[in-house]
Each structure stands twice: as structure tokens, then as C-alpha cells.
């Protein structure tokens, strides 16, 4: 799980071009949107694409997506349970 979270953080940094950030700068439980990393709605679409490309996960339900994308922790847990790649 720890390895997955580090990989996921690296993938988020690359996908969203978070210049100057390293995986160590992202708290596992910090909210990705709003006060945390300050991401926006386009970033949420980018992360849906990231899940689909890297883990074969397609989230159709917007409410489910909102829960999954709360933090790195919630994303990693979801990936572990639902990954197809």
C-alpha cells in the first residue's frame, strides 16, 4: 500500500504538472481539492483519466468519484480494491 501511494503521488504530480512538488510534499490524508492541494474541476477529470489509463478503473458515478478523489489515501484504497491493470 505504501509503494502504491508513492507511485500514485508521482503520477498525480506528472499528470497535473505540479511543478516543484515531490511525493513527500503530498500528505496521504490531505484533501486534494479546496484547502489541500488546491486542485480544480479540470484536475478531477485529469485524475479520472489517470485512474483509467494506469489502473483500468472507470468511475461512472460522479458521487462515487467525489469520494474516491478525496485524498491520496482514498484513491489508493479504491485502486487496491478495483484495479484491473
Amino acid at each position: 500500500m505504501e509503494d502504491l501511494k508513492v507511485t500514485l503521488k508521482q503520477q498525480i504530480i506528472e499528470a497535473l504538472n505540479l511543478q516543484g512538488m515531490t511525493p513527500a510534499d503530498i500528505d496521504d490524508n490531505a484533501p486534494l481539492f479546496g484547502d489541500g492541494l488546491g486542485l480544480d474541476s479540470i484536475d478531477s477529470l485529469e485524475m479520472m483519466v489517470l485512474l483509467e489509463r494506469n489502473y483500468g478503473i472507470k468511475i461512472e458515478d460522479a458521487r462515487e468519484g467525489r469520494k474516491v478523489l478525496e485524498s491520496v489515501q482514498s484513491m489508493a484504497e479504491y485502486i487496491q480494491q478495483h484495479r484491473k491493470i
Partner: protein, 358 residues
Amino acid sequence: MMKPAYILSASAISPQHTFERGQLLQPIMSSNNGRLYVVDADYRQYINPVAIRRMSKVIKMGISTAMNALQQAGIACPDAIITGTGMGSMLDMERFLKDMIQLEEEALNPTFFIQSTYNSINGWIALQTKCNGYNQTFVHRGHSLELSLLDAQLLLTEAETTQTVLAGCFDEMTEEYFFIKNKIGYWKHDIPDSRNLLQHSDTPGTIGGEGAAFFTLTNQPAGALCSIQEIKLYQDAETSEVQTGMLQLLANHGLQPADIDLLLCGMNGDARQQPLYQMAMDVLPSSAVGAFKQLTGEYATASGFALWLAAEVFRTQQVPAPVLYKGTAPARVRHILLVNHYITGNASLVLLRGNQQP
């Protein structure tokens, strides 16, 4: 007849040092590989750091020149935003199309798609300035900027109160674009120094370039650098038709050929386009002649650099030595005629008048 559109400020990012105020066009930048890329500005001074991370270079160039032009004019929010681009954000479009092929149209990144649209820079500028007014992007190859200026002039002519329009242009050079256009003979080979491009005007082809330029326009002369008096556009026209248009343009404004102090031409070293510029020089035999594409390379909105340069010449009353192609620099510059031709058959004439008339 339309009223003049007064240029309050001008800003350009180009392959030369044009963005930061310093000695005009110094030091001169050049290349030996058939294309010129812009000298990057410090884009973070003009764009929110959260937003900048997903922007490609042309978007950063466009927004920065737009905001810089507005700052120079002391305008926070213009009444309208009108731009022209030949190709828009090519890099984003290339990335999006490559993804479509590689990923078989599944799981496509939204950012590249959103930003590949021609009007995305206008949208960003509108968001940043909170401008809810008229917002238009013209995409007409070598007439893109000229049509945006014409639209701005129409808008300002019809306005009953003082209005400001932010008008500008942007285009970028990508490796893919260079490669594709090379296949259809756009570029010259073996130009060891781009500064000497015009010495090779007896063969077809040119060098590639890119850039962005923005202008704050208004319908009142106070504080203006110069004014756009009239714009004439020609598509696939015979040289004689453009010649008639030039003479008509002078007559429309009560000018003689000798009244044009500087003829600024878009000569690009391509022998196929030289007759038009030769005709312009023949019509204005006593005018000093300037050329700029040896400094910018060729692109659909390279005339934006020429308009920025003209505004700087009016401001400083000096024609920079690297621009001077024929004749001697005039002691005083009151009228400049821009003549440009793009490979897709788009020719344009833009008559400019300095704001300090005798």
C-alpha cells in the same frame, strides 16, 4: 470611412528581445536551423501560478503580452477582446491528436483538448481581466491579425463613448509543424544565419517563426502612440491589384508617396513573394524600407511583430539598424505603411500615422 483606431500600448513576445523595455531589438538573436523560437518572458509575473502549470507556451505568451499591453495602457478591463491566430495552440492539438491515436480514443486528457481550441487564450484573458464584453477570435491564416484589427476598428468607429479594445495575435512553431510544412517546401535549407535571410531571396522558401503581440486600442487620440488609419486585405490578388489599392490608400488619406516615411515589408526570402514587395518599393521610391522576418521567421500572424515594431518606431522616432533594408532612417517618422504577404495568398496593407502630427 472608418475612424482611426488609436494604439495606446503595444507588447510583443518574439524571437527577439521585445518584451522587456531596453535598447530596441538588442542584442539580435539568430538561428542556423531554419526556425526561430521566442525569447521566453517571466510568465509567472502575469499568470496565476495555479493556472500556469497546465498552459502550453503559446497560451503563456498570449496572456502575458495581453496583460502587459493592458498594464502599459493603465487599463484593468477592456471593453472587448479580439484576437487573431493562424494555428492556435498547435502543441496542445498535437498532443491531443497523438493521444487519440495511441489510446484509441479512450481516456483522453481534457486539458489538451480544452486548450487546443483557437479561442482558449481569449477565454483566459477574459477570466483574468473579468471582461464580460465582446470576445472574438479570427482564424484566417495570414489575415487573422488584420481581421481582428479591422473588427476592432469597426467596433471603435461605431462606439458613441470612449471604448478600449484589446486586440492581438499569437502563433507557435512546433517540431511537428516544421516537419510537415518542410514536406511541401515551406522552408529554405542551408541558411547558416537567419539574420542574412534576405540575401537568399532568389530561391523559394523561408524560415519558420513564432510570436505573440497585443495592442490596446481606443477611439480617442489622447496618449496614443499612433493610429491605424486604414487596413486593406487581398486574397490571391495580382500584384497590380494590390498596387492600385496602395495608390487608393494614399489618396484616401490625402498622402503622396513621399509622405510615407517608412515602408515596413514582410519580405521573407521567398522568391515567389518578392514581386509584391518590389512593387511596393517601386510605388514608394523615396521611402525608407524596413524588413522584419529575418528577425521573427515566417508565421501567419508575423504582421503582429511589424505592428509592434511600428508603434516602437513612432514612440522612439528611430528605425533600428537591423530592420533597415533600403535607404536611410528618416529623421522623423509620421507615416508607416505595413505591407505583408503570407504564403497562403493573404496580402495586407496597413496605414499607420504617428500621433504627433506637425
